[in-house]
Symmetry: C2
């Protein structure tokens, strides 16, 4: 019974402390848990699957049944294959994408129909033009707010964080999926300058997560966490792929945007799923008789034989550089708008009360300005985003080229013509207005992306340059026999790729435009412009997604920039925190308490002793709390009390212990199964000072109760399931209070205090604690470059720095971030001058090794350990040394 109680307690600890192991082998851990739960389930009656029932059925047609069983097993095992999953994912996403496009097109047509039908009265027209999007956006904002606030925004920043190994709560649930799909449809249906691409990455990821959960009903292979991350990476590719019908560009874009290191092994998954998805997406259009066959989404028809002249390349380079500045400005503007809205306390308080007012207001302003009979006539306001792109990629030249060939604006091209101005003015107004409108609109709390608006602005800018070139060189630049006129549409393609590349800091927008337009003839101009735009934008601003990550304060690791060589000379010893708290193997409970009070670190290093400082592993903060609370628990106190006072046999004691364990199981047993899916709790949560971390310093006299609360708070907040947590917490607290009433009231507070003081002086028994036996270690000389690589490769959030097994410091994501940003901006952590490592590497570092080793060696030789001024921590544990001398 005692062993059972221990197992129960271990179970409880595991559930509360699950997340800490994600730097190690969490896939395995999750499987262990699954196996354990499965074995536990085996004892309880549960509905068996038919296949299992068959094995117990004995009859005449047993061979036949066995055969059927094997077939079934084969099918089920096939369900577990990757390609089945990827095909299903591609299929579902293509259907979602197509259905959403259909709904959006219907919405936009309805607006156009309303606007067109009311052409008798301008005021009514205006009302219709303005009200329709306002209602849609307000509905979208409200719906998302109510159902799942996580669905707001692009989703790419969050996916980047998730793929880095951090689990964000509720980001991949069905509720968020529904909220995002419906919210996005309404938002795009309003005709605001919003995009569908970023949200689609999120939608595809949610779809993959849900599908994975669904398929795990059939086979056991979907439980692996590492595999799920691989599938999420593929899903991101599917998201972009089926949004633009651009499989290659989708894969590359999703890699660039979400990954730091990419496993080439996963490459085919992305290609397979994205191709299948794009294929189905386009086939649906053919079946719907929208298209005759599968072609590109925004097909261009530029001439193939002479796409551009070599001498036009400077113009393309100018587009690239200007787009770089423009992209940086867009990111800056977007961030400033968000920060401005946050800072204005009065506005903010008002808007927080009326959450839907801000979206409505923004929509009102933007739709008023685009009202076609009003200001919209100067900026082609009546065109939808799709129509705008189609016209901008048009094959013809808009500007007048002499008197003879007056260009006729046909169909939707009509929108760009204004009787009292020329096309240049319209384009400039369009670019300027759309620029701030897009930057503003993407801050609305609805599901929306910024890629497509930026893409359109870039196309317009390219068109502007192209038209200017065409006006400047009416007969083309080429001076040979053939006259090849300049194709402004080609410039629009280049501009679109360059500006979207600059905003997102990606090169693969080039591939996306080739796939979107179905023409690759402009490959070199596009590549040159995109690379130049990236070079400029990356040196000025972070990418839009990184900017959002910083605004939302998601855990991130900045990239090492282009050619910042000084970083090759910074080492871990320059940035590490030397003064860290640690737990020694021979410490007392009082030391644990002190460590808990003195630091906020989530993981505490466990060293052999304060003298040797040999790192044995890392222990969770919560584990330490658990050790303490179990040492000071009322049960133990009661046990001690009873043993002292009554000297009875242990029968009644074990009885009460069991009662406590049953109640604990009731409270913490339920979230065990869902928690299994999410061992990746963000270790870098945004709330560094939760109540659990900082109990009032004066409460040590009642530390039994205080620590109990500390532990309970931890236990109830950690197991990562939001729904039901509050309920469980309440239940558990109630139970513990009840127990406190039943068992603990027989001692006076003074007695309790005395007993606890006594308990705190005991040595810690680590045998029941979960210890990560191999926390990641670095050496002092590891370069910043290498450290960054390892952190981003393995998704670490901290690493201990050791010197021949001895703990000398710690580096966390924070220090690394500071060091990288410090070296980038000159602020933050001071980095050493470039030759710093040359300066002191000559003798001191190699000597340090030798010295440390020699000490260790000396110690073994003479068994005489000189007490070192070790890095901080438990200064009052000298006694164990005395104890150890026999």
């Amino acid at each position: 019974m005692a062993s059972e109680s221990e197992a129960q307690r271990a179970l409880q600890y595991e559930q509360t402390l699950m997340y800490g192991r994600y730097t190690q082998d969490l896939g395995t851990f999750a499987k262990d848990e699954a196996a354990r739960l499965r074995l536990q389930e085996g004892d309880t009656p549960r509905p068996r699957r038919p296949s299992e029932l068959l094995e117990y059925t004995q009859g005449r047609c047993a061979p036949c049944r066995v055969c059927a069983l094997q077939c079934q097993r084969f099918l089920i095992s096939k369900v577990g294959e990757d390609w089945v999953f990827l095909i299903l994912l591609g299929l579902v996403m293509a259907l979602v994408s197509w259905a959403m496009d259909f709904a959006i097109a219907t919405c936009l047509q309805a607006q156009k129909w309303m606007y067109g039908g009311l052409d008798t009265n301008v005021l009514l027209q205006y009302m219709a033009w303005v009200t329709y999007p306002t209602v849609l956006i307000t509905f979208s904002a409200g719906f998302t707010q109510i159902l799942a606030p996580q669905a707001v925004g692009s989703g790419i920043p969050e996916m980047k964080t998730i793929l880095r190994g951090v689990v964000l709560k509720e980001y991949l649930t069905l509720k968020t999926f529904v909220a995002k799909v419906i919210g996005l449809t309404c938002a795009l249906g309003s005709g605001m300058p919003l995009g569908k691409e970023g949200p689609f990455v999120h939608i595809a990821s949610m779809c993959a997560a849900l599908l994975s959960r669904f398929l795990s009903l059939f086979g056991g292979f979907y439980e692996n966490e590492a595999r799920n991350i691989e599938m999420l990476a593929a899903a991101c590719a599917v998201g972009v792929g089926c949004c633009f019908a651009a499989p290659i560009g989708g894969v590359l874009f999703s890699i660039e945007v979400t990954s730091t290191f990419f496993a080439v092994r996963n490459y085919w998954r992305g290609f397979f799923a994205a191709t299948f998805s794009a294929f189905i997406f386009r086939v649906l259009a053919v079946w719907n008789k929208d298209e005759e066959t599968i072609t590109a989404l925004f097909k261009t028809r530029f001439r193939l034989d002479f796409p551009f002249d070599l001498q036009e390349l400077p113009a393309f380079a100018v587009i690239g550089i200007a787009s770089g500045f423009g992209g940086a400005l867009f990111v800056y503007l977007n961030r400033k708008i968000v920060q401005f809205m946050r800072r204005q306390k009065t506005i903010n308080r008002f808007l927080m009360k009326k959450r839907l007012l801000f979206p409505a207001l923004v929509t009102l302003i933007i739709s008023t300005l685009t009202f076609p009979p009003g200001f919209g006539q100067f900026m082609a306001g009546q065109l939808t985003q799709k129509d705008t792109l189609v016209t901008l990629f048009d094959n013809q030249t808009w500007a007048k080229q002499g008197i003879s060939d007056e260009f006729e604006y046909l169909g939707i091209l009509e929108a760009w013509r204004h009787p009292r101005s020329n096309v240049f003015v319209t384009l400039v107004v369009f670019i300027l207005m759309k620029f701030w409108m897009s930057a503003l609109a993407t801050t609305i709390p609805v599901p929306c992306g910024a890629f497509m608006p930026v893409f359109v602005i870039g196309a317009a800018f390219g068109r502007l340059v192209g038209e200017s070139m065409a006006a400047w060189f009416p007969d083309g630049i080429h001076t040979d026999s053939n006259i090849y006129r300049i194709v402004p549409g080609g410039y629009a393609v280049v501009g679109a790729a360059a500006l979207s590349g600059a905003v997102t800091h990606t090169v693969s927008t080039a591939v996306i435009v080739f796939e979107l337009t179905g023409q690759i003839s402009h490959i070199l101009p596009v590549m040159i412009a995109v690379i130049l735009a990236n070079a400029v934008a990356q040196s000025l601003q972070p990418s839009l997604y990184d900017s959002i990550i910083r605004i939302k304060k998601l855990p991130y690791l900045p990239e090492l920039g282009w050619g910042h060589h000084e970083k090759y000379n910074v080492r871990v010893e320059d940035i590490m925190v030397r003064d860290i708290r640690y737990v020694t193997l021979n410490c007392k409970y009082r030391d644990l308490q002190q460590v808990l009070h003195s630091t906020k670190m989530k993981n505490l290093p466990l060293v052999e002793s304060a003298e040797s400082m040999i790192l044995l592993g890392s222990i969770e903060r919560t584990q330490v709390g658990a050790l303490l609370s179990s040492q000071l628990s009322p049960q133990r106190r009661l046990l001690a009390l009873r043993q002292k006072v009554l000297s009875e046999d242990g029968h009644r004691l074990s009885d009460s212990t069991i009662r406590f364990q049953i109640s604990t199981e009731t409270s913490s047993g339920t979230p065990a199964r869902p928690a299994l899916r999410k061992p990746l709790k963000p270790a870098l949560k945004r709330v560094p000072s939760s109540p659990a971390d900082s109990p009032p310093a004066g409460s040590t006299d009642h530390s039994g109760i205080a620590l109990k609360n500390l532990f309970c708070a931890n236990a109830s907040t950690e197991p990562t399931e939001a729904q039901g947590t509050a309920r469980h917490k309440a239940k558990r607290v109630r139970i513990s209070i009840v127990e406190e009433m039943i068992l603990g009231d027989k001692m006076t507070p003074a007695e309790i205090l005395e007993w606890e003081e006594q308990q705190l002086d005991q040595l810690v028994d680590f045998s029941s604690a979960k210890i990560d036996p191999a926390p990641f270690q670095l050496v002092e000389h590891t370069s910043l470059h290498k450290t960054h690589t390892i952190f981003s490769l393995l998704g670490l959030d901290h690493a201990f720095v050791t010197s021949i097994g001895r703990l000398v410091g710690m580096v966390s994501l924070k220090e690394l971030r500071k060091a990288i940003e410090g070296s980038l901006t000159g602020k933050g952590v001071k980095v050493r001058p470039p030759l710093a490592s040359f300066r002191d590497s000559t003798a001191s570092t190699t000597e340090a090794d030798t010295t440390a080793l020699r000490q260790l060696w000396d110690r073994h030789q003479h068994h005489h350990m000189p007490r070192e001024a070790g890095p901080g921590g438990d200064d009052d544990d000298d006694t164990p040394r005395g104890q150890r001398e026999p």
Copy 2:
């Protein structure tokens, strides 16, 4: 003086033992070395650079000079920038590629001219047709053989290995560069079915390495090894990019072919350099008036409005699947030819003597079969590879489509027509003949790739299917109003991408064909075919490059295959080697000797003691040898002798010591500077049993001499510079013999033996040994999947397995490879059944943790260490425990 002698000895050890630190921070290490050498150089007179001289010049125009100095510094710092390097690399490679193309075209034209000029006599024609390529290939083979045998073959397998972190000797030198460029030009000029793409990857990498060395004359930033690897990755992209004028495809192809994990951070480098290179490559063509403007290399002119019908997709899928089988067959055939040539002892011996006979013979056979008036007329033998591709991608349909529109074969298309057969027969013969010809030709020992031949075969196969479809559906499949005929050229594009994708196991061949043809309209068919081809080929055979890696026995790590789920359940504890030798901190020299004799491991773990088994670091095998040899060195013996016999002051002793050190410096000082560039010695060398590793067991009685030799052999083979090593070795051996004569002859062998036995019983002084303080550690429960990831991410070749700081085993690349291949093929290491981890994870594993920790804890509590039956090793070091008790 004693400290100087120690420093000297340390220097010697470092130089001999440099390579072992590459798992840690070798960039830093290289820098340390550089700094140390620089500081040392500071004492000796050396030619100063102008900038340094200026600082010492005091004069009137000092401010002006300081300004000039700063300008110069700015320029030099700019030279260190990445983009300067990348531009230079792109420029040089574009020039090389263009010049080589020009030379190849001239060669081919010369052959055609000769063949055309001799049309009066068929025999003369035949002689000219056959002799010309034979001479060229023989010259190429002979030239490469003499100058640099490393230039033979594709180069991609070697680059894959190098990018994994292993340095292959002589693969990136100027000599190899020259051999490869000239050899490749001759080989391709011969008109054999060989490709330029693989060698170009190698050439670009060599170019990058040379450029990096050249630029390091200006700035100090090119010394970083990690950075050089990044630059090599970019260079691979440049190689493919400027070969096909395909920047995007080049980057992707090089990533897929050479990397396992790719740093997205390096992505832009590849794009930047490849785009610049492709741009210059095509601009050169424009300037040479070959082209009017920049267009694709093999431009196609398929119709844009209706590229293909939806109902043609099954035909494309068939091409994909057939290409998959064909690709696997090609890899198999290629490997079998190599293995056959190796196995046939008699043929082999003959060919080894006459090395140039095999290339000449193969060329003779192939060129005889392609002789246009002979068999060549049935397989378009007169066309060069480039012409073949141009004709295969042709826009027209070759097969007769009714009587009215008889197709006229114009120009080079003529070659495909044969009066007595139809185009189908010609195509089939072409495919069959070229298939084995290409597989055979790529085994010739000249610089050559297989990509282009395979690409051509794929195009021909696609064309065959396309022509068949066109003959089957003369008016197209589409039954609506418009008649869209089938475009067989599109099928050729699909086939080319699919077959080359299948052979190389890449998806990015799709992108390469888009860039090569300048049209992306067939994107979906191409993607579908490439993915299907990959799926089939990957399940049948390794990629061509992996196949060559295995044939050449380069160190490699197999990929985890598609959806092999059982590997998620294998753990490190299942595959690790438990019985490993180790070095304890308190061991005696005799133990070191035993460890050296009993194992061949390159890195020995250093543990605290045999009882605790706490891992402190890893020590090089050669370091251990050095420790032993210094302990048993004649100098020490002489010292002991003198002290014993003469009881003199230490003056003359130190004198002799210095003499020895000076001689050592002379012998090992020279290779220090070059060795700095190559700390990455392959730890997985192909020669596991070098003479240094297995000294005869009976030689322990003369171990002073034996170990000296052991050490000398190590010292001379390790510092990785081939040229001059033999000389140094001879010199050093001579010196040591001389010293042996001078100093060591005063003792009889019996005395020496006694003295050495005495020395061996002393405790080891590790203070002078270099110890890697943080070897990579895994835990027993780490999954195979995770282990594979970590090994390939960090380029490890071994990792120690620890359990709470205690060493329990080791995993090397070999075990990992066995485990992965075992689970793939069923042979090799037995993997555990899928549920193995479920079976025992429930209790035992967590208990193992607890038990180990409890032991440690018990040990601290009671200071009583029960001797465990530890994993093997030093069983005779019980005495230290007695010693440690005071």
